[in-house]
Amino acid sequence: MIVAEQKPLEDIIRMVRPYKKVLLLGCGTCTTVCNAGGETEVAFLHDALRMAEARAGDGRREYSEATLKRQCDPEFLEHLTERVEGVDAVVSLACGTGVQALAERFADLPVFPGVNTSFIGMAVEWGVWDERCAACGDCRLEDTGGICPITRCTKGILNGPCAGPKKGHCEVSPDMECAWILIYRRLERLGQLERMRRYYPPRNFRPISRPRRIVGKAGLEARGSHGDVTA
């Protein structure tokens, strides 16, 4: 999933300062799961903004709350049409895609990001998420024992460890395991070390010249007007 973290409160206060009616909009998918932008975080943010404004003697603003199932999907944005009537600005707690989807759908409405979108990752323990996928468009996990060197090696090396690891940890941080030592151990366990002996050419960056688009082969007709850009 996409992992995000809430922006500092002072940044959000600065963004909403010129506006009177502000909608705080959560997202029910990724940012809900990573505790950055779901219904609960919308409510917390609402309280935090009110408290900060009360302390600053600035109580002119009127906030409303809503959370959509997904902000990155035009179908769900339609539910907002009435909610944004009379609203001066929206703070979106979705990932960057959600913020942009809103901006595209509501051309006259200022939309601000309430979170910093961080990475594609997973929870490794309660409240801790680690990056696992760089969305590079050229997956090589079959050769690396299911451990991604592009994401987890800080240099994205494809041919084995650099001279940096110290006791199995990365030169960048002693908290970070060397991806290539993990890969080595896993391939050894799987009896597939020959994969590590292979030479891997540099990444092909053509699939990721930005922005990327995927046109799905199935369901084009069934999905009607949204069918031209589907996955």
Partner: protein
């Protein structure tokens, strides 16, 4: 011009030193070090933004060494340049008379002094070795024919004290296969372990003309040795050397470190452990001639 390569190919025991370009434009000390060492060693490495700290460029300094009559080993890292820029630099270096390249992945920007910079790593060391080899064969990375090929002697690094060593060995084998013609090791202090590593390395390079140089970093104090054990990846100073460094008063520690370095040079030479040494004095290049004298090399 190709003095380093000729020395390597002649079968003699090769000695190289290292020049760290300054952070700024005042090159007086660096030029003094170049002049001091250029005729005493077979080649001088020039570091490329060493430890990800911004410095004067390795190509310019390598060129200066060649101009002054020495031979340069031009270090190239993959951290700061993409494949277009690296190949462009290689052609430029060749134009400037530089003939030895040491291919490195390069320390991450986050350990240096521009921590917010974007790291590149479009190539990494194995791929860079291949790229240089391709240019030597007359082609760029994309397969286009070059109007005149390069003639680089291709070097790489290996870390005999890596822990664990097995993944590092696989990487070493890939570098040999990719076309590395000489290797400089990360600093080694445990000569028994180095000898064992060299037996393995000789097995890998058997039948190929690959030269192996022991990397020797001069110990300057017992504190420095302990610091390296704790913080520098792939470096291990054994207890007997720590004790030896601690056995002398502080002001004699550097001299002790020089003695140890000279002893290790002799050990490698007399026992035919490797093909040469690469001496890194890290800012104390003044002492290198004395070390060479102590080792009986000059």
């Amino acid at each position: 011009m190709a003095r380093y390569r000729e020395a390597c190919e002649s079968g003699k025991f090769v000695v190289s030193g290292e020049i760290g370009p300054p952070k700024g434009t005042d090159v007086r000390e660096m030029v003094h070090h170049i002049d001091l060492l250029k005729d005493l060693v077979d080649g001088l490495n020039v570091t490329d933004n060493q430890s990800a700290v911004l410095r004067l460029g390795s190509m310019a300094v390598s060129h200066e060494i060649v101009t002054r009559g020495g031979d340069a080993i031009y270090q190239v890292t993959c951290r700061d340049r993409n494949r277009l820029a690296i190949q462009n630099d290689l052609l430029s270096a060749h134009f400037l008379g530089i003939r030895n390249v040491l291919a490195l992945t390069g320390d991450h920007v986050s350990v240096g002094d521009h921590k917010d910079a974007k790291e590149v790593y479009d190539f990494e060391s194995v791929q860079l070795i291949q790229a240089v080899k391709k240019m030597n064969e007359g082609f760029d990375w994309a397969g286009n024919e070059l109007q005149g090929s390069t003639d680089f002697y291709i070097g790489a690094v290996v870390t005999p004290e890596s822990d664990p060593i097995e993944p590092q060995k696989l990487k070493f084998e890939k570098k040999v296969e990719a076309g590395a013609q000489f290797f400089q090791t990360q600093a080694v202090y445990d000569m028994d372990n180095f000898q064992r590593f060299m037996e393995y390395a000789r097995g890998v390079t058997e039948g190929q003309d690959v030269k192996m140089m022991a990397g020797l970093v001069v110990l300057t104090s017992v504190g420095m040795a302990k610091y390296m054990n704790k913080f520098v990846p792939g470096v291990f100073v054994p207890d007997d050397l720590l004790e030896e460094m601690a056995s002398v008063p502080k002001e004699e520690a550097l001299h002790k470190g020089m003695e140890i370095c000279a002893r290790h040079i002799r050990f490698c030479m007399d026992n035919n452990v490797c093909d040469g040494v690469h001496i890194m004095a890290i800012g104390k290049e003044e002492i290198v001639p004395d070390i060479l004298r102590m080792a009986g090399l000059i």
